[in-house]
Each structure stands twice: as C-alpha cells, then as structure tokens.
C-alpha cells in the first residue's frame, strides 16, 4: 500500500509514542549491569534499539532522581566517566514493569 507523506508523518508520530515507554524499560533492563552513557547507548544499538543521546542522558538523570538508578563517577580510559546501574528500588520497578510488559504483549498478541 502506498503511504502518503501525511500518513508517513502520522505513522512516525505514533511510532515514537509507542516506542517512548518501551525505551525506559529497555534502559532499566540494560542497567542491571553497570554502564556509562556511551556504553549503554552502544549496548542498546547492538540489540536494535537506537536511542538519541539528547534523549538518553536526560532520561538517565530523571530515572536517577526518581531513585531507580544510582550513579558514580569513575576514571576509565584516562577520563572520568559517570557509571549508572539499577538501584534496589529500580530492580523492583523493573520486575513489575517487565511483568506488565509481558501481560500487554500477550493481550496484544491476541488482538493483532
């Protein structure tokens, strides 16, 4: 089916909306192990989830301010880097969000 430009814009908007919530879940899941921002972005890209840096770093700070992540400055490759990982509270939230995601996925599988 031919997609008109306006339809393509609408699709892109809807795709972004659909993706927005799942990115947080993906970031939390990747931070079960400690990573710094650039490494996290690469890890997500390797599994097919590209995320803009402009969105990633503010998201990491927001999740940290919400108590879901902890961070620490450490020197690596002769440069100070900020490493993030899940806090105990973040682990609990990730477990609940993962269960919710699976439930939504199962429901949608029956619908689409």
């Amino acid at each position: 089916m031919h997609i008109m430009p306006a339809d393509a814009d609408l699709f892109e908007t809807l795709r972004q909306e659909l993706r927005r919530g799942t990115l947080i879940l993906a970031v939390l899941a990747q931070l079960k192990v400690e990573r710094y921002g650039y490494g996290l972005r690469q890890a997500l890209a390797e599994v097919g989830l590209e995320i803009d840096e402009g969105a990633l770093y503010p998201m990491l700070r927001r999740l940290e301010s919400q108590g879901l992540l902890t961070s620490e400055w450490r020197e690596e490759d002769k440069r100070k880097k900020r490493f993030y990982r899940l806090s105990p509270e973040g682990e609990a939230v990730l477990a609940r969000l993962s269960a919710e995601w699976r439930a939504i996925n199962d429901t949608l599988q029956n619908l689409i």
């Binding site: 710094y36 921002g37 650039y38 840096e53 402009g54 969105a55 770093y57 503010p58 700070r61 927001r62 400055w73 440069r79 100070k80 880097k81 900020r82």
Partner: protein, 335 residues
C-alpha cells in the same frame, strides 16, 4: 578544544546552577567520546570544521540544556481544556465589553465614525491582556504555585441547565440556546446603535455628507420620509432580539416577531426600490464625474435591493416554517 569549551559554556549558562557542573562534565565526556570515535573512523584528528559540524549535530545549546530541565509544558494536558475554555469565555467577554465601550464612547461624543476601529482596538487590547493573564495563572497552577484545593470540586447536580439544544443524539445538532442568546444579544446591541443613529441622538456615518473635491454624498430623501416607520421596525426587531435573549425556547413567539419584521423589511425594500436611490451625489457644477458616480451608486443600490429581496424572502420562508413547527420534540406545545 576551544570550540568544545565554548559549546559547553553556552549549555552550562542555561542549566540549573546546582546541576550545572555535573551535567557539563558528563556532556564533555559524551562529546569527547564522539570526537574520538569519529577520529578513529577517519584515522586522523578532526579539523575545526568537522568538530563544529559534530557539535552542531548534537543540538543547539538551548535545546540541549532544555532537555535536562523538568519536562513540563506551560499549560499541561490536564489543565489545557480548562485553560482553552477560559480563553474562549474571556474573548467573548472582551467582545461584549469592546462593543459596549465603543458604543458608550460614541454616545458621549455624538460621533460614530470611529466606532468600529475603536471597538476592534478595545477587543484586541483587552483580549490579549486577558489571554496573557490567564496564561500566567494557568502556568502558576501547573507549577503548583497556586493551589486550587477543593475549589475545583464539582457535582453533576450543580452543572448549569443549558436546555434541550445541548442534548446529544436525535436533535443534538440544533443551534444551542447559548448560541441563540449570544447572536440575539449582538443583534440587540447593533439595533440599539441603529435606533440611536436613526433618531438623531448620535450622528451616523451615512447621514453626514462629506465634501471632497466638490462632491457631497448625502442620504436620499427617502430616508427622511421613512424615518419613523424604520424606527418602529427597528424597535419591533429589537423586541424580537430581546425575546431571543430572554427566552430562546419561545420558538413560535420569536418566529412571529421575525415574520412581522421580515415582511416589513420586504415592504421597505419595495419602497426604496420605487425611490430609485439611497444616496444622492450633490456636486458643484465644475465637477464632471458626478453623474457617473451617481450612476455607479444607483447600480450598486439595484444589486443590493435584489440581494435584500432574496434574503428577506428566504427569512420569511424560514419564519413560516418555524412558526408551523414550533419547538421540535415538544409537540404542539411549543411557544
């Protein structure tokens, strides 16, 4: 690295003071990592232009710093419908106040020439002021600086009665009573001004001839002959408008008054047609184009009469239909 420092300084200036150092240190690491990755790809160091392009691609400092701020619109999605409703109500209020203030000013000065620009200016300035004030209040509520508490508590039983016209479903697309009232109110205001002009209490723009290059445009004698019948007609029309304001559900009463005024309107059109003109051109003998101007005005008048006949005829038909039908859904008990 002067470009990187310059870029980061521009971002830092826009960041919250307590987080500035931390965020800039992280951004520096991100950008240096990007630069190093690009240099590894190329096998050489980046020149100034390439570094600048890389920093530009990262985003404008305002945008980058903005992403680290709290994610919140000036008016959030929950508050926005209330804000939009308040803005519409404020613009309605501004329109009424602007028309009234311009009308009062015209009454005081006895000069109606600038009533329209005066009303327009008042509407724009008052409307923009109200929108600005509502936006500030909305932003303050959004940020919790103004707490509404229990003042926004509401009950279904306390919602205002808006009449049948607002019902959804069958008949839900009828004109709402509020719309009928507003239209009738504006019509009544215009009629009051018209009556004041016709009675000579306020000078109407079309009643004063203006001398320009030896030409005077004056009202035709028919206006003086029909002055009192037209005034009576305007008073009946005013009564119909006020009836609509007070009792928009009195469909038959309103239709009967409208029928009287619309039939009278057809009569006035016929009398104007017989007179041949609405405006006469009085010119000094040296003005050569006076006759052609009079012909142009008369032709415009003939076209206007044709339109007026069509409008009044359609309105009479609608009035008769409303009179026969009454209030839909209320059987024959409609007023």
């Amino acid at each position: 690295m002067d470009l990187l420092d310059r870029y980061l300084a521009a971002v830092a200036a826009l960041l919250p003071k307590d987080q500035r150092q931390d965020i800039v240190a992280e951004l520096r690491d991100v950008l240096l990592t990007r630069i190093e990755a690009r240099e590894a790809e190329l096998g050489r160091t980046l020149d100034r232009g390439e570094t600048e392009a890389l920093l530009k691609a990262f985003g404008h400092p305002i945008a980058v710093a903005g992403r680290f701020g709290p994610v919140r619109g000036l008016i959030g999605p929950e508050l926005y419908p209330f804000y939009a409703f308040a803005v519409k109500a404020a613009l309605g209020l501004a329109a009424v106040v602007a028309v009234l203030s311009a009308g009062i000013a015209a009454l005081k000065t006895g000069d109606a020439y600038d009533v329209v620009p005066r009303a327009f200016y008042a509407f724009v300035s008052l409307g923009l002021g109200l929108i600005g004030g509502l936006t500030v209040i909305g932003a303050a509520i959004e940020r919790g600086w103004i707490r509404l508490g229990r003042s926004v508590d509401w009950k279904v039983s306390e919602l205002p009665h808006l009449g049948e016209g607002w019902n959804v479903g069958w008949g839900g697309n009828r004109r709402s009573p509020l719309k009928i009232r507003l239209e009738a109110l504006f019509e009544a205001i215009a009629l009051v001004l018209f009556i004041l002009w016709m009675s000579g209490l306020v000078t109407a723009p079309w009643m004063v001839g203006e001398v320009r290059q030896g030409l005077v445009l004056a009202p035709a004698p028919i206006w003086t002959e029909l002055r009192w019948p037209i005034l009576a007609w305007a008073c009946v029309q005013l009564a119909a408008s006020l009836t609509s304001v007070v009792r928009p559900d009195w469909v038959r009463a309103r239709a009967a008054l409208d029928l009287v005024t619309d039939l009278a309107g057809l009569g006035f059109v016929a009398l104007f047609w017989r007179s041949g003109r609405l405006i006469q051109v009085l010119a000094e003998p040296r003005v050569a184009d006076a006759a052609s101007l009079q012909r142009a005005l008369d032709t415009s008048f003939q076209i206007a009469v044709g339109v007026a006949v069509a409008v009044f005829a359609i309105k009479v038909g609608i009035d008769l239909w409303r009179l026969a039908r009454g209030r839909r859904g209320a059987g024959s008990g409609g007023a």
